[in-house]
Amino acid sequence: MAGFIETVRFSDPYFPIFVLLVIALVTAVGMVFLSQATGPRKYDKIKYSVYECGVDPLAPASERVSVKFYLIAILFILFDLEATFLYPWAVLFRSLGLFGFIEMIIFVGILMVGLVYAWKKGALEWQ
């Protein structure tokens, strides 16, 4: 234990985050336990069935989902990565000057071509 504590860097800026998340999780789990300890617990077949506005469920919900959602997910990965690349550039923008500006115009320009392509192909239509 003492050896382990020596290796933990308490001055690490991420350590408070770890402590905070652990405490949040402990509180959340604790409240659920409190709820299970104090709440009623009565079995009823109807109560434990799936809610479908009072009608008996016709089929399980594990149906296929529209392909539109997957398209959005793929586009999101592209554009979110792009936003991720823009952040380091934004931090260093002042020191990079005109060079960084032109580089980023080329980078964003290529991605804008991608957006226009997806747009023209109808990937952004939601019908």
Binding site: A24, F76, F93, R94, F101
Partner: protein
């Protein structure tokens, strides 16, 4: 935190025998408890204020039974949620169903860690603060997808898929609209960004008034963030009149409460980010908060920060009860065809402005005209 622990050990004589790490750990736990208490209180009081605002806007009274004018309603709601049965539908995927609320709750709470409440009041001043908030706010998507899928309910599945599609679509404009503030400060740390908006001009040091493009990006961010936190013009994942409640329809008791609390937690984090990045954060107009004595500087800056953040929260509630819900196709069109191209051109404008005018904002230029 470690420096604070060392100074505390020096200041309090009987702590001399205690190792530094123990004091630092106790301090961290105390800070965490304070932040968690603040978050839970805000979420509770926020739900009450939301209902009161809704009542005023719809010309009715709102909650008025528990306590004077209904001010204790949120405590009664909390106790009621805990005392309800914690049930899992028979056909649900049990482990995933039970895990989903924790993801949502912890994910929304993680955003509170880097909120700069005052000059020295921040739980962890990360050098990647803005980035961190963007990252942890995505945890909520995982929770919503898990909840929607594991419920084995058609309403929940539709709500979960819609919620995930919506949040990830709007995360791009949110991320791009925050970049101007990062460019002006040259740092991702929220404290650095707030400090870069200081100075004696009062409100004219704010990024909001730096140049026309940052003014515009404030509104872009506000719109996109309203959608990312599922506030009403964009509350399609919940849509109680068509999806009966969306991804949380099968949840009851305190597990439902976590989704509900997380919604208010996200609301505050968005308001706090808006304040810190565009509205000057904790900067007190016509004062240098850093030069005041520690306790007064922190108290005043905390008050200023919370005042601004709560104003933004009230505006969000106002929007929420004023605008009708839009359709899914309109929602997706707004994000992909309007907000994303607009944020890109806005970013281009900001970077051109910073290049041409050497990083100076309009207020600074006007000030230099008068010497």
């Amino acid at each position: 935190m470690e420096a604070l622990a060392i100074s505390l050990i020096k200041a309090v004589p009987f702590l001399g025998a205690v190792p530094v790490w123990a004091v630092a750990l106790v301090l961290m736990v105390a800070v965490a408890a304070v932040v968690l208490a603040f978050a839970l209180t805000f979420e509770g009081v926020g739900s009450l204020v939301l209902r009161k605002v809704a009542g005023d806007i719809q010309v009715r009274i709102g909650p008025n039974r528990v306590g004077p004018n209904g001010v204790l309603q949120f405590l009664a709601d909390g106790v009621k949620l805990i005392l309800k049965e914690d049930l899992t539908p028979a056909s649900a995927d049990r482990p995933l169903f039970k895990m989903a609320p924790y993801f949502v709750f912890v994910g929304s709470f993680a955003g509170f860690v880097v909120v700069p409440f005052g000059v020295g009041l921040i739980a962890a001043d990360l050098n990647i603060g803005v980035y961190y908030v963007m990252a942890v706010s995505s945890l909520v998507v995982i929770g919503i997808l898990l909840a929607g899928w594991s419920s084995n309910n058609k309403w929940a599945l539709l709500g979960g898929m819609r919620g995930a599609a919506q949040i990830i679509s709007y995360e791009i404009p949110v991320g791009l609209a925050l970049i101007p503030a990062v460019m002006i400060a040259g740092s991702l740390s929220l404290q650095d960004i707030v400090r870069s908006q200081g100075g004696l001009w009062g409100i004219f040091g704010w990024n909001l008034f730096h140049n026309p493009f940052t003014f515009f990006s404030f509104f872009l961010y506000f719109t996109a963030a309203q959608a990312e936190t599922n506030q009403t013009p964009f509350d399609l994942p919940e849509a109680e009149s068509e999806l009966v409640s969306g991804y949380n329809v099968e949840y009851s008791g305190i597990r439902f409460g976590y989704f509900f609390l997380a919604e208010f937690g996200d609301m505050f984090v968005v308001a706090a980010l808006t304040t810190a990045l565009f509205l000057g954060g904790w900067n007190i107009p016509f004062f240098h908060a850093e030069t005041l004595p520690w306790i007064w500087g922190n108290l005043l800056s905390l008050g200023v920060f919370l005042g601004k953040a709560f104003t933004i929260v009230l505006i969000m509630m106002w929007v929420r009860w004023t605008l009708p819900r839009i359709r899914v196709d309109q929602l997706m069109r707004l994000s992909w065809k309007y907000l994303i191209p607009l944020t890109f051109f806005n970013l281009l404008g900001v970077s051109l402005w910073l290049l041409v005018f050497n990083g100076k904002g309009i207020p600074a230029m006007i000030a230099s005209l008068f010497g």
